[in-house]
Symmetry: C2
Subunit: 228 residues, 2 copies
């Protein structure tokens, strides 16, 4: 059985591969994501390679094996189902779910997770809009793009908020910038490094425009709903 530390490293490697669209993850990236020193990451990575969860190329980086990917998707499934449960059933705020899920994901049994899944009615995505992998490790690929790739005039719908920082999530909630909401990009200012959006006319949110930094825009994944 993997320890919770092993689980966390494998999940982190998966997330770095995904979020940065890289096939190989360097030690610096991994050690920073894990919040440990580089030497610690090197030692652990050797252990993970022995356990055949990753392939380790010294001085290059690591990539998940099929077995590692399976474990990673199991952890992602647990994390997202727990977050969904905390928000939908226990009434947590979106900005609070991540912290508790990060710990619980290492303590729950398979039985617990399958019962939670059924109790929630087999939700396809968590409250951030991220798809929940199936028990068999299949995950739906959605073709969303970061908001900063959009242009003035694009009409869009928020798909996912790719950032677990509670302050960021609270800000998004205040502006009703949550998964499912429809927007129009009314300005993109490359020099100022900002984008301005307002709610679609048919949407419930306020019509007052809202300006976001490019940095934050890159963590807001959207689906285009047409171009005016």
């Amino acid at each position: 059985m993997p320890t919770s530390t092993v689980e966390q490293y494998i999940k982190t490697i998966y997330q770095q591969e995904e979020r940065c669209a890289q096939d190989i993850v360097q030690m610096k990236q991994l050690s920073e994501a894990m919040g440990v020193t580089p030497g610690t990451a090197t030692a652990m990575v050797k252990h993970l390679a022995e356990r055949k969860l990753i392939r380790y190329e010294p001085r290059k980086g690591v990539r998940l094996t099929a077995g590692g990917r399976e474990l990673a998707l199991l952890m992602v499934r647990r994390h997202r189902l727990i977050e969904t449960f905390l928000e939908n059933v226990l009434g947590y705020d979106l900005s609070e779910v991540h912290e508790d899920a990060e710990k619980l994901e290492h303590a729950v049994s398979d039985k617990f997770i399958e019962r939670i899944d059924a109790y929630l009615g087999f939700p396809p995505a968590d409250p951030h809009g991220d798809p929940i992998p199936s028990a068999e490790g299949h995950i739906a690929r959605r073709d969303s793009v970061p908001l900063d790739h959009c242009e003035t005039g694009d009409t869009i719908r928020v798909a996912r908020l790719r950032n677990d920082d509670p302050a960021f999530l609270l800000l998004m909630k205040e502006q009703h910038l949550t998964p499912g909401e429809a927007f129009v990009v009314i300005d993109k200012n490359e020099t100022a490094g900002t984008m301005t959006v307002r709610h679609d006319a048919r949407s419930r949110g306020p019509i007052t425009p809202f300006t976001i930094s490019m940095g934050n825009s890159s963590r807001i994944m959207v689906e285009p709903t047409g171009t005016k």
Copy 2:
């Protein structure tokens, strides 16, 4: 913050004090209950004494301090609320709840537990019939006695099943020997080491008598409802 190992030792010491009605717990008892060697328990006990969670009298045993008792009751609260949730909400069988609760109790946050408590409607007892301590660490004392202290003719109601062994719990469930059920003791055979009970006439269970060993009888806590 206490590690989950520290939490588990403290909870175990509390349970040994309670279940065996002793004010001091010897190292053998503790090491067996924890499933570790005596030397390991001695080392840990010194650490717990430094942390002021227990008072340790070498060659005698240990007893909880006020702080240790507080932590123990917090763990018991978590354990029992989790068990109640697993049975009432997720549909676990009574014989399955203990294993998962034993792990989850060390991973949940205070927020999680308080929300679960509210979601369950602030239950006074878990599915074994054990009282749930309040968030402030108060626990209701119920004056129940072990079934083997009863005599032929006593009418009783099951209060708690003081044993987490799944096989035992399944057997009890089959015979409807669950908290709240009313019975009459129709025989107590000291030499054979058995007791025979049958459901009270007004009860839903079968009227066919059921014979239990004295060993098992001592784990069934009952409240007298009168003596015929």
